[in-house]
């Protein structure tokens, strides 16, 4: 048997690529947030991105390095969404050690208006996160500190349950059961 360096997350990428590629009639490739993704982010997103955190516009190099330092590969969720050689979306999160959840902390689409996967990025990120959570036997997918004007979308369209920030140190989140 040939040994591969691929992991369970790569199998999830392949599954999501198959699901979407046949339905959206666009080329779709999912990868980790590797050096190619970061280089493309700094060359194509950063110069035109007018968004300000917490509503997008994150420094993905810093965020990615922070997550890589803090969490091992098996405790990390990451996805870079490509249409051919155009980077269309990025997302970062973490997996809990126990069976509770896969938390998605950051998700952002390309700042280029009308990029080829416009309107599909959130679907792709959520499906990747949900499939990965289910594969690992996690009970829920959690979106940490959701952007205010997306909360209704998460609740109505994706059936997430959103909880407002409690106390000084708590954070807002939306979550959805994935183990049925």
């Amino acid at each position: 048997m040939i040994k591969t360096n691929k992991t369970a997350l790569d199998a999830v990428y392949e599954k999501v690529e198959i699901v979407f590629a046949s339905r959206i009639q666009q080329s779709l490739r999912l990868t980790r947030i590797d050096f190619a993704a970061l280089r493309t982010w700094s060359e194509t997103w950063e110069p035109i991105n007018k968004r300000e955190p917490p509503n997008g516009g994150w420094d993905w190099l810093y965020k990615r390095n922070y997550f890589y330092k803090k969490y091992s590969t098996r405790l990390r969720f990451e996805v870079a969404i490509w249409n051919d050689n155009e980077l269309c979306g990025l997302s970062l999160g973490r997996i809990t050690r126990d069976d509770s959840n896969n938390s998605i902390h950051y998700a952002e689409g390309s700042p280029r208006l009308g990029h080829p996967l416009t309107g599909h990025i959130l679907n792709i990120i959520l499906l990747t996160g949900i499939e990965y959570a289910k594969l690992l036997g996690k009970k829920r997918v959690r979106l940490v500190d959701p952007v205010e004007n997306l909360i209704k979308v998460y609740e109505k369209r994706y059936k997430f349950e959103c909880i407002k920030k409690k106390g000084l140190l708590g954070s807002s989140y939306c979550e959805k059961e994935v183990l049925k």
Partner: protein
């Protein structure tokens, strides 16, 4: 100041009563300079020391037991196992109804280029 060296806390019993002078002295300059100084009753210091002891012991026990108490990460399936899992249609998407599948992949323009 970046490379300055300070003497550690200096405890001095005053001559007049049972009070303790705590000071931080900059000994790098030619003339010693007191940067901070505080005189506190000796009994207050003893009380704080005794009061802190149980917490210190608890903290040390916690540090020792932490590695045992923190749950170990669950084992992760391999790439091949994950592929097989999807082929067996155990994934989330495969178990949705057709309208749910349609909704999951249908286009919707959202903020943040999503």
């Amino acid at each position: 100041m970046k490379y300055a060296y300070y003497d550690s806390l200096i405890f001095q019993k005053t001559e007049t009563d049972s009070r303790v002078r705590i000071s931080i002295v900059d000994s790098t300059s030619a003339t010693e300079k007191t940067l901070w100084e505080k005189v506190l009753p000796l009994y207050l210091l003893i009380f704080v020391f005794i009061f802190a002891m149980p917490f210190l012991v608890l903290f040390m026990i916690w540090i020792m037991l932490k590695s045992l108490l923190v749950k170990k990460a669950q084992p992760q399936p391999t790439y091949e196992e994950a592929k097989q899992w999807f082929e067996d249609e155990k994934g989330y998407f495969d178990n949705l109804s057709e309208p749910e599948k349609q909704q999951m992949v249908s286009k919707k323009k959202l903020p943040l280029g999503l």
